[in-house]
């Protein structure tokens, strides 16, 4: 339930990383529903609502670019932080010369998508959480360009410009039908972070997420 919105997002680069190619990151051909949800949540989200992606319109030609960067290997080890908290003298930093690794990323170039989505109320919704209220707040924010934090296209270094589409969705440059294979739909946080996959089909540049899920989401 809830009302639908349509948001246009675009940017120079994007990287919607395939989970099977995470080390040297390779992007999916198109935006995943979970990345689209992340963009909407960056603009407006409350525990009372949960965004559901209906359709993703792929406006631009799919093009790639390769960038190799120096990255660090590790994450911050909790055990070390704990011993530092206890006042032990541990080295709590990473020497970027020691822990360096060069990794390439295959990124998307010049992307533009229109995200059609609606939200549903969750069980955390209180008596004064009406769909109208949340819908209007979300619309106001999208019109004014307000956000909690700046939305991004897969990774934070690829910021997304965004604007609300109030009329008809502009046409995509894609025609015909294309099978994009199994793509990540989203992570099911309620079920122990279980990734859910779906078979994405793009028809005339539009991926109808609900229809694809109806055709059998797999996890």
């Amino acid at each position: 339930m809830g009302f639908g919105i349509c948001l246009k997002v675009w940017g120079d680069y994007a990287c919607f990383t395939r989970p099977e190619m995470k080390v040297e990151r390779v992007s999916y051909d198109v935006m995943t529903p979970s990345a689209a949800r992340g963009i909407l949540e960056a603009i407006y989200w409350k525990p009372a609502i949960c965004w559901k992606i209906d359709r993703i319109h792929v406006m631009n030609r799919i093009a790639y670019d390769n960038i190799r960067r120096n990255e660090v290997l590790g994450k911050i080890p909790a055990a070390k932080v704990k011993s530092a908290l206890k006042g032990k003298d541990v080295q709590l930093y990473q020497d970027s010369n020691e822990a360096r690794v060069q990794r390439a990323s295959l990124l998307l170039r010049d992307v533009c998508y229109c995200i059609e989505a609606h939200f549903e109320l969750t069980e955390k919704a209180g008596p004064d959480d009406t769909p109208e209220k949340h819908y209007n707040i979300a619309l106001r924010r999208m019109r004014r360009g307000q956000c909690f934090h700046h939305p991004y296209l897969g990774c934070r270094e690829f910021p997304a410009r965004f604007e609300l589409i109030e009329g008809t969705v502009p046409p995509s440059c894609h025609t015909g039908e294309r099978d994009l294979g199994f793509m990540l739909y989203d992570i099911d946080f309620a079920d122990d972070m279980r990734p859910v996959f779906f078979r994405a089909r793009m028809v005339d540049g539009v991926i109808d997420v609900r229809e694809c899920l109806g055709a059998g989401g797999v996890s």
């Binding site: 190799r68 709590l92 930093y93 010369n97 390439a104 360009g145 410009r161």
Partner: protein, 283 residues
């Protein structure tokens, strides 16, 4: 401690390079990075963040709360970390909760407060998103990548002794003006990392001065030329960021000749900013 920031910011940083390599591409034998489609130069986000970290490490060396988590080069660990009396916690038998660990890291490390970090302290590998987001910097015009061959009158190996000299290569861009854009989310500062007004001032300071302490044979002459800050009246912001960014225009004056100095460009900042946004020219 100063107050946690309450306003959303966007910023545009213009910096240039003269006869140097601002950011080498490991895939291209350290040639300056370019966008293969347009020929414009690129400086990655992580390259700029590295310089910010190094600058803060330099000016706040040993000051509690301004440690840097990802350091470069030789690290001299001679500081007794006063910061460990974090909030006066008595070492106790019960394990500190996850949020305490994250708080502790944010309190002590400037780069985690600013850019966030990936920690193994929470469920979904605990990504702490920092308030500051920087995108790839791009040059205003296609750059010319030049490879300069140099000679050295000494040799490394004994077997080359009769050669008398060795050759090397330096990669450089004769001149390029780069534009980086960034975002600062007050919301993430408030909710997650506690990035405060002092940190913000230090960030502006580091954006202006980070190239001044990063000179090397490879870099050539790099300097920050303009730092334009848009301060929104509130936490969520008052208008779309790209509208503000589009108000900063850079025109080339050198006509058909390739640009070779900052004087070959004219930077105009439209003072017609939307209501609720304040334009601050830091440089």
């Amino acid at each position: 401690m100063s107050e946690i920031i309450k306003n959303r910011y966007e910023f545009v940083l213009l910096f240039d390079v003269e006869n140097g390599n601002p950011n080498g591409d490991p895939d291209m034998g350290n040639m300056p990075r370019i966008d293969p489609q347009t020929g414009n130069g690129i400086v990655t986000d992580v390259c700029l963040k590295r310089k910010i970290r190094d600058y803060v490490d330099l000016v706040r060396d040993g000051v509690p709360g301004y440690d840097i988590y990802v350091k470069t080069g030789a690290v001299l660990n001679d500081q007794h970390r006063k910061a460990y009396d974090y909030l006066g916690i008595e070492p106790s038998k019960n394990k500190p909760g996850d949020s305490r660990l994250t708080e502790f890291m944010c309190e002590n490390f400037f780069d985690i407060r600013t850019f966030g970090a990936v920690m193994t302290t929470e469920v979904n590998c605990g990504q702490v998103r920092g308030p500051v987001q920087i995108n790839f910097a791009r040059s205003m015009d296609p750059v010319f990548q030049q490879e300069v061959t140099v000679t050295r009158c000494a040799v490394t190996n004994e077997k080359d002794a009769e050669k008398g000299q060795t050759m090397g290569k330096k990669q450089m861009v004769p001149y390029a003006l780069y534009r980086a854009e960034g975002y600062i989310s007050a919301h993430l500062a408030q909710k997650t990392t506690g990035f405060n007004e002092d940190d913000l001032e230090l960030l502006w300071d580091s954006l202006v001065n980070m190239f001044e302490h990063d000179h090397s044979a490879a870099r050539g002459k790099m300097s920050a030329r303009k730092l334009i800050v848009f301060k929104h009246r509130n936490e969520l912001g008052c208008c779309q960021s790209h509208v503000l960014f589009d108000g900063v225009k850079v025109e080339r004056l050198s006509g058909d000749l390739p640009p070779r100095s900052f004087g070959d460009y004219r930077v105009t900042v439209s003072d017609d900013v939307p209501d609720g946004v304040e334009l601050i020219e830091k440089l």
